[in-house]
């Protein structure tokens, strides 16, 4: 039996673990993959106070080590559901665990383009992580599809490795950070393909190119060695859909106090309804959710 079970070891979940351990609560963190969450695919974090040039991996590793040092227990198992009660049972692929309070900090996963061949080509020319796979495309031709911060950062990172980087975006301006967009525009080997969508993948055993359709209906083909897909993310809340209230897009309906519709279950980070999804707000959510969970434990007679 744990005081608090935290689902997800990203910045929100691991920050919650730090705060809960410092309040001397016993903590189990369950994670389907490994620690870190989305931030690990960021090559360089430039907007976190006091850590202006740290890599996402280094950041996540420091938070992980901090949580472990404080005594949080981590198990790398996928959570399949929660049974509510005065004690909550969290079931995983490997077993089940009992906790008095639960913090759901599952974050989100990469959205796919949904084109034929996409699944088969993952790892054969299609990637969802530029910092992981960029090294395989040195002096090759690649494209990034998307217009948000992740797409811009990926394109900038790849421009230092690849021969040509095409950026395919369906609008005429980027949603992402203006400073990053400006740096991208200054790169000689970056070609912006705006007002356009990727409408087909061209491939044999591997990806060989993409078909691009512009907003006026013009179709063209771009030969490529690699395609990096950065078209946004969807929350990973499916295992909890029957238990707690989600909004229409699948985010946990929780306000700034991180409380869900079920007492004793809290939501922290990118998987809840919120205005700003940034590293610093995820960490902040972790602190708030841990504080709320501790209040709940102390008020609930345990």
């Amino acid at each position: 039996m744990y005081d608090i079970i935290i689902i997800g070891a990203g910045p929100a979940g691991m920050t919650a673990a730090i705060y809960a351990r410092r309040a001397e609560k016993s903590v189990l963190v369950l994670e389907a993959r490994s620690y870190g969450g989305q931030i690990v695919s960021t090559p360089e974090i430039e907007n976190y106070p006091a850590a202006p040039h740290i890599s996402g991996f280094d950041f996540a590793t420091k938070v992980y080590e901090q949580a472990v040092e404080l005594g949080a227990e981590f198990r790398f198992e996928r959570v399949t559901g929660i049974t509510d009660g005065s004690v909550k049972t969290v079931t995983t692929s490997g077993g089940s665990y009992e906790g008095r309070a639960v913090i759901i900090a599952t974050g989100s996963e990469c959205r796919r383009l949904g084109l034929p061949g996409e699944d088969k080509l993952a790892g054969r020319g299609i990637s969802y992580c530029a910092t992981c796979d960029g090294g395989f495309f040195r002096k090759k031709d690649v494209a990034v599809v998307g217009g948000g911060n992740t797409a811009l950062e990926d394109a900038l990172y790849l421009s230092g490795l690849a021969r040509t980087v095409y950026v395919i975006h369906r609008r005429d301006s980027f949603r992402g950070d203006g400073a990053t967009a400006a740096r991208l525009r200054s790169k000689d080997n970056v070609k912006l393909v705006l007002n356009s969508r990727v409408t087909a993948l061209e491939y044999g055993d591997r990806l060989t190119g993409i078909e691009v359709t512009d907003n006026d209906g013009g179709v063209s083909s771009i030969p490529l060695d690699g395609l990096f897909i950065a078209v946004g993310r969807t929350p990973e809340n499916a295992p909890f859909a029957g238990l707690i209230e989600l909004d229409g897009a699948g985010y946990v309906s929780a306000s700034e106090n991180c409380r869900t519709s079920v007492p004793g279950i809290f939501a922290a980070g990118d998987n809840r309804t919120k205005e700003v999804r940034q590293l610093v707000t995820a960490a902040a959510d972790g602190a708030v959710a841990a504080g709320e969970a501790i209040k709940y434990l102390e008020g609930s007679g345990f």
């Binding site: 994670e31 389907a32 993959r33 490994s34 620690y35 870190g36 690990v40 695919s41 890599s55 996402g56 991996f57 280094d58 996540a60 590793t61 992980y64 981590f74 198990r75 790398f76 198992e77 996928r78 692929s93 490997g94 993952a122 790892g123 054969r124 020319g125 990637s127 969802y128 992580c129 910092t131 992981c132 796979d133 090294g135 395989f136 591997r206």
Partner: protein
């Protein structure tokens, strides 16, 4: 058991001729997610005596990486009796790793 680092020299002995099923982790030091696979693999290696977990550095062992068609890492390949039985690209949790066997 611990995770064993293998090279082209001992790949055949440690992986292809292993009497236990093997999970081979193809990784590089510059790949953050690869390094994050390590706590998962360490936990598995400590818990499961019936499987062997090895790691292959794709920068040092280019021939092995090319032979196994690695172009995306982290890449885990499962071997049984010297034959590939499953492959996972990207970060994987313990259950996803075990599903490869």
């Amino acid at each position: 058991m611990k995770v064993i680092e293998v090279t082209a020299e001992n790949f055949e002995a440690e992986v292809l001729r292993s009497d236990k099923p093997v999970i081979a982790d193809f990784y590089a030091d510059w790949c953050g997610p690869c390094r994050m696979m390590r706590p998962v693999l360490d936990q598995l290696a400590a818990e499961r005596e019936d499987i062997k977990i090895v790691s292959v550095n794709v920068d040092d062992e280019e021939d092995l990486a090319v032979n196994y068609g690695i172009s995306s890492i982290p890449c885990l390949i499962a071997f049984k009796g010297g034959r590939e039985t499953g492959r996972n690209i990207g970060l994987a949790g313990k259950d996803a790793v075990l599903n490869l066997i």
